[in-house]
Symmetry: C2
């Protein structure tokens, strides 16, 4: 195990990835050019390609980072939620998540829609993410004492999650998002 020599990096990888997440989130993958990244990340294309290999490689790294962000803000709270209140709060957090800043929806779901099944790797990652959210909803229902038709109700809630995302992505302003949020809350309350 020898220490390697060479010129050190002039940037912090995580900071750069945060900015990449921000750009991919708002503009999508295809519409974000390597020149856009160059100026937004503050590093040259040389450094970008040296560090991440390709635009796709950078996107995957950004996706990892995004998943951790969404894990802390949305998934973990949902997976540890007790009662229907926890699920209700998840939807509130979700609505805030997809409308904050210049954001438009969830980066992963946007990516899934943009990809349209073209890239296998994106396909697998988004599929895994979908399953995780759906299962978390089902488990939260079970923990809340909802045992009849828990699977179907989880699918129902999951559909609303996707609906909220696509409406946020479509850019209808937050009013349509709040309508769907209220509808989801109404549904949850009807199960009390």
């Amino acid at each position: 195990m020898t220490t390697t020599a060479g010129r050190p990096r002039s940037f912090d990888t995580d900071e750069v990835l945060d900015r990449a997440v921000d750009l991919f989130w708002r503009r999508g993958y295809r519409d974000t050019t390597t020149r856009d990244l160059e100026s937004a990340l503050g590093i040259s294309q040389s450094s970008l390609y040296n560090a991440f290999g390709s635009k796709q490689g950078l996107m995957e790294a950004a996706l990892d980072r995004y998943e951790k962000l969404t894990e802390d803000a949305l998934l973990t709270p949902l997976e540890t939620a007790e009662g229907l209140d926890g699920i209700s709060e998840f939807f509130e957090a979700l609505a805030a998540w997809v409308t904050g800043d210049g954001r438009r929806g969830c980066m992963i779901i946007n990516l899934m829609a943009e990809n349209g099944g073209a890239d296998d790797l994106v396909d697998k990652r988004t599929r895994r993410y979908r399953r995780r959210v759906r299962d978390a909803l089902r488990d939260a229902l079970l923990r809340a004492g909802i045992e009849s038709h828990a699977e179907v109700r989880a699918d129902l809630l999951f559909g609303e999650v996707l609906g909220i995302n696509v409406v946020a992505r479509g850019g209808a302003g937050s009013s349509e998002v709040e309508r769907l949020l209220a509808a989801a809350q109404h549904l949850i309350n009807s199960w009390r």
Copy 2:
């Protein structure tokens, strides 16, 4: 009123538009190049630009055509449906609509997601379409005798419509679409 002279078109506009709809539907707007259109529509780019002005112009014309298609297949049945059965049938027809052929979701909703609020014209058209679907759901509920919380329930159903679309677009195969379909049916049945 004089009759115009000149060389006649060698193609039928509606046939060409049908093929354009098919391409834009499957591949999206951005990923469909004018060369793709040239070979798929069977006409040269010259004819394409002469007839439709631009790629965007062709897309708008294709959008008009698509709206008529979806009107006949989905909207009109929904707008004239009686009872909850009609709404249930709408969802079945929707699920078939977004998974048929090599299709992936609804062309308009895909376009909305792809656009992400960038183009104002697409924004307006998709907003109008969303409202129409949502209002049709509400009216159908009222016609079915569901008068309490009709608005909220329409939003709920509309969220499921969007969810079904985005899952179909994501390309999870038809199994996930059918899960969401079953969930929507379950919801509707719970209102009987």
